[in-house]
Subunit: 454 residues, 2 copies
């Protein structure tokens, strides 16, 4: 498996046919060549019966790992077809963080049953403990497996103890050094330990590295993700308020959070209020979109009331209606552009000591430049093609005003929301579009009356 696998329709059909005709040897051959993440991709595409059939054929050491890689929904269905004992067997070999993730998806009753069937009692206690943490905190993300040595051990003893501890651990990332109270005081680089046989008799105290970055167990996962990103960490120890070492978080669990965070802002900006994918049900897909559509409706109705106030003017000068959609759209576009930049800046916590005032001034300038350009375009177009100076001036002046206004508020609103600790992502997209629509139309007709002198 040196090359990566990409699942295609033909291969999926091949597997389905083999399941149909019970070609177990062929399937075993195929599965032994595949990575658990690839096997999971195949199972995600099967119906429950076929999924159960194929899952039973997976070589034992890969079965638990495959379970972890499955789509949450598929895994839930598959697990509910297993007895508690069967689940316990799979979970026994997993890292505690992964095992906790899986058990946390079960019903309360089944949770206890699975825990009671676990052979490794330490594993059971660790998982029961991890289940108590909120999944949005460092505690909910951490695993208990780690290599921990005491500051007063000799290097030789350290290596002996590590041999014992390492049995449970699939990857050695870092060796943590603790004092007599289990307080985290530093780390021991593997290199120092391995390639320096002269130091076998020295004490850990003399060779360890102080200053280790750690997360508090109750810290929000987003903060944890930012910390690991900023300090380029592969693994991060988790401590309690007394700095007692509780567990560790690895980067692979955090990559998903970093990505989801960025994607969530995009979805919110696009007016989707729940995390959905094309594979979700029609009902869920509809429900996720309704809130913003209703906000759009309210904006549209407010807009209609603004226009209604100018009904007489439209009757006399129906050409005033021509640029209603242009003005509304441009207000929305300019506003969304401004707010997207601010929202991403806030999400990334780009350090930035410019005051709100100087940011707004800058944005006013950007609005002025772009507004002037657009305004000149529409002015020239209207003069040439409609040969109506009043209409040209109305369109030009109101477009300039609207673009400046929209850039300004597109910047201000997310900054204000952030100041009052409201997620600024909610302000982008539909909300700012809608508000700028309504205000834009008002500005347009207000200026129209001035220009036409009516």
């Amino acid at each position: 498996m040196s090359a990566t696998f990409e699942l295609n329709k033909e291969y999926l059909e091949l597997i389905k046919d083999a399941i149909e005709s019970g070609k177990d040897n062929f399937l075993k051959d195929q599965l032994s060549d595949l990575h658990q993440a690839d096997i999971a991709e195949i199972i995600d595409q099967l119906n429950l019966e076929d999924a159960k059939y194929l899952f039973k054929i997976i070589p034992n050491e890969k079965a638990a790992e495959t379970l972890l890689e499955l789509d949450e929904e598929v895994r839930e269905k598959l697990l509910s077809s297993f007895t508690s004992q069967e689940i316990a067997v799979k979970i026994d070999d997993m890292d505690t963080d992964d095992a906790t993730d899986i058990i946390s998806e079960l019903h309360e009753e089944k949770k206890q049953e699975v825990l009671s069937f676990l052979e490794d009692q330490k594993q059971a206690t660790d998982i029961a403990d991890l289940l108590t943490y909120d999944e949005d905190t460092a505690g909910g993300l951490m695993a208990k497996e780690l290599i921990k040595v005491k500051h007063d051990w000799t290097v030789a003893r350290c290596i002996r103890e590590m041999r014992k501890q390492a049995e449970d651990i699939s990857n050695i990332y870092t060796i943590y050094v603790v004092d007599d109270n289990d307080t985290l005081i530093g780390t021991l680089p593997l290199k120092k330990l391995l390639f320096n046989p002269a130091s076998l008799r020295s004490t850990i105290k003399d060779v360890y590295v102080e200053n280790v970055i750690s997360a508090k167990v109750y810290q929000d996962v987003e903060e944890v993700a930012k910390m690991m990103e900023k300090y380029d960490l592969v693994v991060l120890p988790v401590v309690d308020d007394d700095n007692k070492l509780l567990g560790r978080i690895t980067i692979d669990d955090v990559v998903d959070i970093i990505k989801e965070e960025a994607e969530k802002d995009y979805q919110m900006a696009s007016g989707i209020s729940e995390k959905v994918t094309t594979a979700d049900s029609v009902w869920l897909l509809s429900r996720a979109r309704i809130p913003w559509l209703v906000i759009g409706m309210v904006g549209g109705i407010l807009g209609s009331q603004v226009i209604e106030r100018y009904e007489n003017q439209i009757q006399i000068h129906p050409e005033l209606a021509f640029f209603i959609p242009l003005i509304a759209a441009m207000g929305g576009n300019a506003g969304v552009q401004s707010s997207a930049i601010v929202v991403q800046g806030l999400a990334n916590k780009t350090i930035d000591f410019q005051s709100i005032t100087s940011k707004l001034l800058k944005e006013l300038l950007v609005g002025l430049i772009n507004g002037l350009l657009c305004s000149l375009l529409i002015l020239s177009y209207t003069v040439v093609f409609n040969q109506n100076i009043n209409l040209a001036l109305t369109a030009g002046v109101s477009l300039l005003t609207v673009v400046i206004y929209a850039s300004f508020f597109g910047t201000l609103i997310p900054l204000l929301l952030d100041k009052y600790k409201i997620d600024p992502a909610v302000a982008t997209g539909p909300f700012i579009t809608t508000m700028n629509d309504v205000v834009g139309i008002f500005i347009y007709f207000f200026i129209g009356r001035l220009m036409y002198g009516i």
Copy 2:
């Protein structure tokens, strides 16, 4: 530094004052407690003179690392104030991938000069080689530092050789096993090597693990990122077409790519065509937004031409103008919602063997549900508040049509673009909004004429 550092205005002032009054000892004290990423954050906020002053005070072992963490612009300015020899000293201790990143930012002439000043000739050759790869490929991301053992060595020899190789390497992630032709054939788990002293006389051949996932040197960085994400890899070896081991990529370099990818789609959907932040210049911020604003203008002008065709009808029934912005906005909103879900699905390569037809049918259903709901809302509103059945029917029927239409095309267009290998992210946001605006207005007036019988 167990807690994380957060830069604030007061602290920054403190540092600036200390620089002003030349309190070097105080500054040294502060810097020795800070992580290089934190020092870089401070320097990013200083003017060039102060930045140079502070940089000189950084303890030697942190200076190179700090350089890596700086904002690209700040680093460029700082570097241009250094002589080639000064840069070479900083670079000598860096990993080859980081050193290459920094050298690649220099002018051609200075590049060669810095390379010639490097003390470590192997380092210079490695960097010169890495400079030849495109920065968007695996080769442009990889480092040369890795631990490599031959399949026919004994474990004892392996440990001896590793001691030599490990000198250059800050972190040991994985030990790669190669054959006589330097072809990558597997990995050697550290655990097997360390905690199994009985095996000192066995040959690597007998203990190594076959099957290692690798990237080709010319593979796109986005593919590399997806691979590391999917297979939960912390480090990924890079090979050429003959599977010869060339280097390795670590996850910290890839995290940034994963994040930027997700953010790029968001910015494009918000109509920003270049990667910008609030800190960029007014000119750059304006330029990044102009292309989409112009597209919005074109859409607005097309919309105005549609309305112009109905000028007479508006003169007779000016209330027809009321719902122009509502219809345009709802077409845009529904279209953006649909396309955002498709674009994210395509970006994540969520495996999905539904045919385009079945996806579209699903989306039509979602459009029908949401369209009916919105349509009923506007119908009731208009009957109650405008007491105009013709207008109510026009608004209701056209809104239903527009929401269905917009959902359908919002899904179809990104799928089609993807099929023809065009980045579907360009289709979202302003483009789909604009198209749906124009078509929405056309549908509205078309239905209006039918309903009014004019």
